[in-house]
């Protein structure tokens, strides 16, 4: 089920809230509220394709069983094979669904073989729930986690706001909140900011991101023939689309989480305000960076084994990040670019930090924009053509297929679409660079008539706009 759907906004969310808090009135020893929320999350997960549900159920049961065995065992020698089995199973399933065809098609191309491709549908959110559970399996091996009951564990994995597209939450930040007695009761102090974040997030995802998305689609589908102006608008457009799409989705998750009295961790902290690439990764998809740092970078030695090893470790982390985002060479290349930039920053940090802050910001932002081109393009040729166009100084008009994405509802004054487009870009950039982000606004939320009006209008506007089809970019990553 999508957040941006009638069934979610008008039925699933209100009914789940009512059911959860009504059952929360039962004594704590009867945790029907949690059971209800787990079942509701399965409905959310399997709504469009029920065949995914057994996969996640098996994944939860196996990971839970392995973790419990490790937590019960004093001997490291016994825990190690269990942990390795857990790693193997989780990564194996992820590989089977996500990377099998990529690997085989490259193998076939390299060795002129013809092994069959599976053409499997990627189970929803598999990259997210696999990583989330891996963290628990590894922490169980280290015995740094408490034993949870199966219901709490299932809730940590399936809690629907974060289930299909993150943030990648840790058991230690979710389970205790569900265990807290006072969180069983409906609380307006959480519900109000939650509703506000929900409205802002939906608006970012459905209205802002999808408007830029239409222009970006038009631009990338004629990647080979863009002039310099168009190429910049398309590349910046994608930069904006991706941010508003993914951070909007996370804002909705944050908002819905709050409605259930659960604080979901911050995932986007105005990343385009970053002054260097290191800061960017501390602000963009924070929970992924946190996971990769904890479970890849640190185990590899982090920055404690000398400069060379640090640089190699950085590259490994970013290659893993690239591959996590999708099974394709362009994702790897994108990871490589960010890895290289991080290494360069590490090597020349002093010189870089002495530059004028405006120049630092500009360099970081431009790099991020160019790297996103490789992330979005369907072929290397397309990506290179767009980057080349960005540098070619070949100025010309912007084609209608791009500007028409910004047309007024009803197509009024189509001659002014170019101006409407400029207004969208300026406002979106101001929002990214000059305004406080949703999380900040939510955390120090003050109820006013103005934000009540904004909340109602945005939710209403988004709901009325759902008659079209909206594609969520991060689903299959």
């Amino acid at each position: 089920m999508l957040f941006n759907s009638y069934v979610f906004i008008l039925a699933f969310l209100p009914l789940t809230l009512i059911g959860y808090f009504l059952l929360g009135r039962l004594p704590e020893r009867i945790p029907l509220n949690k059971l209800f929320l787990v079942l509701a999350s399965f409905v959310f997960y399997g709504y469009n394709n029920p065949s995914y549900v057994p996969i996640i159920v098996c994944s939860i049961l196996i990971n839970y069983a392995l973790s419990q065995m490790m937590l019960a065992s004093e001997k490291k020698g016994l825990r190690l094979p269990l942990m390795l089995l857990g790693l193997f199973l989780n990564l194996g399933v992820l590989f089977y669904f996500k990377y099998h065809d990529f690997f085989i098609s490259n193998f076939n191309a390299a060795f002129k073989t013809s092994f069959a491709l599976h053409h499997l549908m990627l189970p929803l959110g598999i990259s997210f729930f696999t990583f989330q559970q891996l963290s628990y399996v590894i922490d169980s091996y280290r015995r740094t986690v408490p034993r949870y009951n199966i219901l709490d564990y299932a809730l940590f994995v399936t809690f629907f706001p974060q289930l299909v597209a993150g943030p990648i939450v840790l058991h230690s930040e979710i389970v205790p909140q569900f265990a807290d007695e006072k969180n069983r009761r409906f609380n307006f102090d959480n519900f109000a900011p939650g509703l506000y974040a929900f409205a802002l997030g939906l608006f970012k995802k459905v209205i802002v991101a999808d408007t830029f998305g239409a222009a970006v689609e038009a631009g990338f589908s004629s990647a080979l023939s863009l002039n310099t102006i168009e190429a910049w608008f398309v590349a910046i457009g994608y930069t904006l689309q991706l941010y508003f799409d993914f951070s909007g989705y996370c804002d909705v998750a944050t908002g819905v989480g709050l409605m259930f009295n659960i604080k979901i961790p911050l995932n986007f902290n105005s990343p385009y305000k970053s002054m260097n690439i290191r800061e960017f990764w501390q602000r963009w998809h924070i929970t992924l960076s946190r996971f990769l740092t904890s479970y890849i970078y640190f185990p590899l030695g982090g920055s404690r084994k000398g400069l060379t090893r640090t640089c190699i470790n950085l590259m490994i982390v970013f290659l893993a990040s690239g591959l996590w985002h999708g099974a394709g060479w362009l994702f790897l290349l994108w990871g490589l670019m960010h890895g290289a930039a991080s290494v360069l920053y590490r090597l020349f940090r002093k010189q870089y930090d002495s530059l004028h802050p405006a120049l630092q910001w500009l360099m970081t932002f431009c790099f991020v924009i160019v790297a996103w081109v490789f992330f979005r393009a369907t072929s290397l040729a397309d990506a290179l053509a767009i980057v080349k166009s960005m540098l070619m100084m070949d100025f010309g008009p912007i084609r209608d297929s791009i500007t028409s994405a910004f047309a007024l509802p009803g197509g009024f004054r189509p001659g002014y679409n170019g101006i409407f487009m400029m207004i969208w870009y300026v406002l979106a950039l101001v929002a990214c660079l000059g305004m406080r982000n949703t999380y900040e606004k939510t955390m120090d939320f003050k109820p006013t008539l103005l934000n009540a009006f904004t909340t109602v209008v945005l939710i209403l506007y988004v709901t009325l706009s759902l008659s079209g089809v909206s594609v969520f970019l991060y689903f299959n990553f």
Partner: protein, 350 residues
Amino acid sequence: MNKKNWALLCLSGLLGAFVFLSAVVIAVDPFQVYRLATAYMPPIDNTTQVYANAGIVRHYDYDSAIVGTSVTENFSPSLMDEALGGRFIKLCTSAGTAYNHALLMDLAFRTHDMKRIVYGFDVYSYVAGLDETGSEVPLYLYDSNPFNDAQYWLNRSVLGSFLPRCLRAWGQKQDDTIRDTMYNWAGRDEYGRAALYNALFDPPEVIQPADQYLAAAKANIETHLIPFIQAHPETQFDLFFPPYSAAEWSSMLSKGTLDALLPLRGLAYDMLSGYENVTIYDFAAREDWVLSLSNYKDTLHYGEWINDEIVRAIADGSGVVNSRDSLDQASARLRAWANDLIAAGEWIYD
């Protein structure tokens, strides 16, 4: 204001707005999903056909229907009433697939006692996937689940465009002529040699295998046609193969699809001719029609006078396919015309 009051204000504002907007849409009902429009002229046009059809199929008064793609849109239900008896309605979907047609027939049978269905069998409609439609269909208007109609009540286009259209047409009443005029595109186009603008006479570069679409077509017939025929023995199904111009078959040959599409005619005959309530008509090889460009606006679409002729032919039983052999002979003629046109590299008939 405290957070509780703030939240209650927002929730009541949202609830109020949702209820009010839904009530307005349900009351006006631009697509006639709940009742026949009596106070205004409903918006019925080819561009939003799949929406308007949901109301037409439910609430118009009929006991017979013409089902098919754009080549059936110029039929005149009033003429069909006269020639065939009953009271006809158009259940047409431009570029529709077998699934499109099945959605409409399903609702027609659920809401009406049907005497007869005249069904234009386009081979193109039968190569699609089982749940594939020509354009996106608002299935929420076709099912019997009232809750998913929220997509209709809280729909930006309905509120912003169709409601105003209804209000502008307030006071205009629809009368019985709407059955003939709906979706009718007669008189808009030029007929004659101009029809060749989309014709192909080049030899094929690749040829699709003969069994390319057989499985898909078989599944479509089994899923989207036979269940209606079996469930409604009281309903007469008149299936006809439409008379495309010979240039359409040469274009198929040129694109390499002829070998794959032509067998669908035989397949349909084999699967359907055994039913007592089915009569199959073949107008595809009617020389006097398909070799004369004056009947066509493009290689596929014939003028409305051909629709009228088809009705008369069905009424007097001419064009009935009595055996697989005679259908195959007609198919062979289609192929021969295609071959001749490709060999000539141009239109050679009139």
